[in-house]
């Protein structure tokens, strides 16, 4: 009898202890920072200044910090408002709570979780009557998608990305038949992996499309083509759902 009970009690006490640690750890952090940070003002709205919609590697810090601004009803920046960043498990902010600076902005460094995919983050502030919050989306790329993003930078985005930068002029406007930007998910989500593989390997004519899309089948390996596809899928908004996959229902 004893023998049977021991592991279970041990396990449950371990669980309890773990729970206690988690709860304590959960309480400790905000508890400390809220006592240290005394908001001197409240805002009516919170807006994203920069740092949203970034792509980063899983588990690493995003290149640019996330900056949000707290405004009042007139749209003027509010200094000294308390901003709290929240996220699903795995994402960390440094710092997670802070007061807005003189220009009404709060800046935090975001480290993504270890799972590839889209992360829905939130920034919230107290507000006059009820809290106001802002949703921010960041994307974490796994190994294959990151390889794809590097290949895309080299071979694809000069034409497929309409945005030009000082370092890199886009070729999009120069093309008679416009390529689909990788963010054009309405089109790309309708194409299967086999379609995309064919068009990358054999060029536009493979799917009766423009010959301005050249064939890369002898330049890129199949693994590289797959990586490119994985990357374009990671950018899809709404997310790509391959036909035929059965999803778990809760």
């Amino acid at each position: 009898m004893m023998k049977r009970v021991t592991p279970r009690t041990l396990r449950s006490s371990a669980c309890l202890a773990l729970l206690a640690v988690v709860v304590l750890a959960g309480c400790k952090h905000p508890g400390q920072s809220t006592t240290a940070l005394k908001p001197t003002a409240t805002g009516a709205a919170i807006v994203e200044t920069s740092g949203g919609h970034q792509l980063g590697s899983t588990g690493t810090e995003l290149k640019d910090p996330l900056i949000v601004q707290v405004n009042d009803e007139q749209g003027t920046a509010v200094a000294g408002a308390l901003v709290e960043f929240q996220s699903p498990a795995g994402v960390t902010f440094e710092p997670a709570t802070m007061l807005t600076d003189a220009s009404g902005q709060a800046t935090t460094a975001v480290t993504l979780g270890s799972i590839a995919g889209r992360y829905q983050l939130a920034a919230s502030t107290a507000g006059k009557s009820k809290p106001v919050a802002l949703d921010i989306v960041e994307t974490a790329l796994g190994y294959q998608q990151r390889v794809g993003s590097i290949l895309a930078d080299k071979y694809c985005t000069r034409c497929h990305d309409p945005e030009s930068s000082a370092e890199r002029v886009s070729n999009y406007d120069n093309l008679e038949t416009k390529p689909h930007p990788f963010t054009d998910s309405n089109t790309l989500n309708k194409m299967t992996d086999a379609d995309l593989t064919a068009i990358i390997q054999y060029g536009g004519p493979a799917l009766h499309r423009s010959a301005l899309m050249p064939p890369y089948g002898k330049t890129l390996t199949l693994a590289e083509v797959r990586a490119l596809i994985a990357y374009t899928r990671a950018l899809a908004d709404p997310p790509y759902q391959p036909a035929g996959t059965v999803y778990a229902h809760k």
Partner: protein, 696 residues
């Protein structure tokens, strides 16, 4: 006593008095004893996970096939050659289940796609941790002797770096970290040996200080030493957190030990006092202030040098030093001499000898001198140095290890100045002095040590580097890849680093190429930078007249690039020397001029090529042939290609671009021989001056 004995004997009698009963009791005890192990197993952690896995997949569409693939019990991957005994897959059951891609709950996630199958490599090779353990705490978090917690995802590329010493596209963080180890001077103090026994060699260019007084003042050295980043935000020189007295004494020693070298401005002034040479302020030609900025731009100084703009952004290359406050630093006569020929002051400099005219030098020098900050070092007033100060400065230089990077008169280069970091990634936790409150992992230790080296005690000499979080992470990743395990991996699995060769072209042309610092931007035969095209096969590629003209006036080939080849004002004989050498030596055997299509072709072949160019291969998406209709902006403009490239090269290139220049972006279009000949004929008809090909 009596009572106990009586009780025991009655108990013995009750249990074993009767042989049948005794047999039953013994059997029962035996049965219970045998049940211990199965019971323990039933309640073990991993068994719980396997049960949870089964209930997780129960409701999925492909539950039947998934359950068929599931094997209960402890799973083990054993690879004696790698020293791997991994039981991780006991709990991480669904690593290879494609349909678990949407599952976020560990330990049941599918492993993201990587080139290595788990069956062939196991887990701990990349992730660290204890593979043989079957509980989470032991496998993931153990800090016992000889064990270490698993590698955080943040630094996971360190796992790749144990076997892959080369640069890989998929590991940007590791690549950056390794570049930084050699570029930020880390390996000048710390020695780092790769598993194959080769050492990481520095790639930075710390200036020699043996004639520093010719270049700058003691006051500037003082301000610089106090805070290098205040002078140039992007400098790799770390902050040694020197006191005022220390900085004053070190600057005193550096200036007093500085000895003029042949060619220094001090020497030039005496020798050529009456000559009108550049570098002599007495006979300074008139500068043209309006031209300063445009000359700086035309010379493409910003390809290598950065300047902080009004918005506070540092813009430009990082080959040479940042020039935001250059006017605060250098003496005017030194700058003139440097612009005239940098190799006189520093024979190893990556800066090209531009062959500016005296007026250009004066213009550029004035322009650069205007880049100064009136507030920088304004309050620095140093009293004349005493011999005690100078002696103390020398001792501080020896103690601080300055000579590990810089050449300094009277101070020897220290050997093994700082601890060897070859195996830092697997440093036993027991040997690390963690600070209070620090997580006990090697990665936290390395990060803290890079961020705040002096927090580990006053005796630590390591200076404070000005690094962003991303740079610190990259450096940590590169260091974590230096493990003891990486040395026991079989040679067949190891990918060696691609080291630069020490290729040096011969003769007068070789001397010219050194003077023009071609290797700072171009790569030839495995040596040199990657800013400009690889010239290893340039001789097979281009025509003589074009190369001569290009060296005379490098108008750009690719209009969308902001980094371009500067103009070097070469003399005609030097130009010819360089052209001859490149055409004769930089040849590839795969491009055969004898079997190539000829440069002139019948009109119908040219027309056929034109149609192939525009329709089948749609080259106009990247290239411009007719400036009126074509807009392709990615590859080089081809309006003059018939007078630039050789037909043999063009044909070979069309057949397989990557064979001639690995990694080039032009896709291999699988052209047939006939198609390639026709397109070559069309391209060779494009001479620029003679109208647009065979359009009419």
């Amino acid at each position: 006593m009596q009572f106990i004995r009586k009780y025991l004997s009655s108990a013995w009698h009750t249990l074993f008095g009767d042989p049948v009963r005794a047999f039953g009791i013994v059997s029962l005890v035996l049965l219970l004893a045998l049940a211990v192990t199965p019971t323990k197993e039933h309640f073990s952690e991993w068994h719980g996970y396997q049960r949870n896995y089964l209930s997780l997949i129960r409701d999925r569409g492909d539950a039947v096939s998934m359950r068929r693939r599931f094997e209960p019990g402890i799973h083990q991957i054993w690879m004696p050659a790698l020293g791997v005994v991994d039981r991780c897959t006991t709990c991480h059951v669904g690593l290879n289940e494609a349909s678990l891609a949407d599952e976020h709950q560990q330990p049941f996630r599918k492993h993201p796609a990587i080139p290595h199958p788990v069956e062939g490599f196991g887990c701990v090779i990349c992730h660290g941790g204890q593979g043989a353990a079957t509980t989470v705490s032991e496998a993931h978090f153990s800090e016992r002797d000889g064990e270490a917690p698993i590698l955080p995802t943040r630094y996971i590329e360190a796992g790749c770096g144990q076997c892959h010493q080369n640069e890989m596209a998929g590991t940007p963080q590791l690549n950056l970290g390794r570049t930084m180890l050699t570029r930020y001077g880390c390996v000048r103090c710390h020695s780092i040996t790769r598993p194959d026994g080769s050492k990481l060699m520095p790639t930075d260019h710390p200036p020699s200080l043996i004639h520093i007084a010719d270049k700058t003042s003691r006051e500037w050295i003082y301000s610089w030493l106090k805070d290098p980043q205040a002078y140039a935000a992007t400098t790799t020189m770390p902050n040694y957190k020197l006191s005022d007295q220390d900085a004053s004494d070190i600057s005193a020693y550096l200036v007093s030990s500085s000895k003029p070298q042949p060619g220094d401005t001090a020497a030039v002034d005496v020798k050529t006092a009456s000559a009108g040479k550049a570098g002599n302020p007495a006979a300074k030609p008139a500068a043209n202030p309006a031209d300063g900025a445009s000359l700086y731009g035309q010379s493409y100084c910003s390809s290598c040098h950065a300047v902080q703009n009004a918005a506070g952004n540092v813009v430009g290359g990082n080959v040479g030093p940042e020039l935001t406050r250059i006017g605060n630093k250098v003496k005017p006569e030194w700058l003139n001499a440097w612009l005239n020929n940098p190799r006189i002051y520093d024979v190893t400099t990556p800066m090209p000898h531009y062959r500016f005219t005296p007026q250009q030098i004066a213009t550029l020098s004035d322009y650069l001198h205007s880049k100064s900050d009136a507030d920088y070092g304004a309050n620095v007033q140093l009293a004349a140095a005493t011999p005690q100060q100078i002696a103390r400065g020398r001792r501080l230089i020896i103690d601080g290890g300055c000579a590990a990077c810089h050449e300094i008169n009277g101070v020897q280069t220290p050997q093994n100045f700082a601890p060897d970091l070859s195996n830092i990634g697997s440093k036993p936790l027991a040997q690390i002095a963690f600070l209070p409150g620090m997580q006990h992992t090697v990665s936290t230790y390395i990060v803290s040590k890079i961020r705040q080296p002096r927090a580990f005690g006053g005796a630590v000499k390591m200076p404070q580097f000005a690094l962003s979080n991303a740079q610190t992470d990259a450096l940590t990743t590169a260091l974590l890849a230096q493990t003891a395990r990486s040395r026991t991996i079989p040679d067949t699995l190891r990918v060696a680093a691609t080291a630069d060769t020490n290729y040096q072209p011969a003769g007068h042309a070789g001397k010219l190429m050194t003077e023009l610092a071609c290797f700072s931007c171009h790569r030839i035969n495995g040596r040199g930078g990657d800013m400009a095209p690889d010239l290893t096969y340039e001789g097979s590629s281009v025509q003589r007249q074009w190369l001569t003209d290009f060296l005379k006036n490098p108008n750009t080939l690719r209009p969308s690039l902001i980094r371009r080849m500067p103009r070097f004002n070469l003399s005609d004989s030097d130009n010819k020397e360089l052209t001859d050498y490149m055409l004769a030596v930089y040849q590839t055997p795969t491009v055969d001029p004898d079997t190539a299509p000829s440069a002139t072709n019948p009109a119908q072949v040219v027309e056929q090529g034109r149609q192939l160019f525009y329709s089948k291969f749609a080259c106009q998406s990247c290239h411009i042939v007719d400036t009126k209709t074509d807009k392709g902006y990615i590859g080089p403009t081809l309006t003059h290609v018939g007078s630039r490239l050789t037909p043999a090269w063009t044909y070979a290139w069309l057949k397989d671009p990557q064979a001639l220049r690995p990694g080039t972006t032009e896709p291999n279009q699988k052209m047939s021989d006939d198609d390639a000949r026709a397109v070559t004929a069309f391209l060779m008809s494009l001479k620029g001056t003679a109208g647009i090909g065979a359009k009419q």
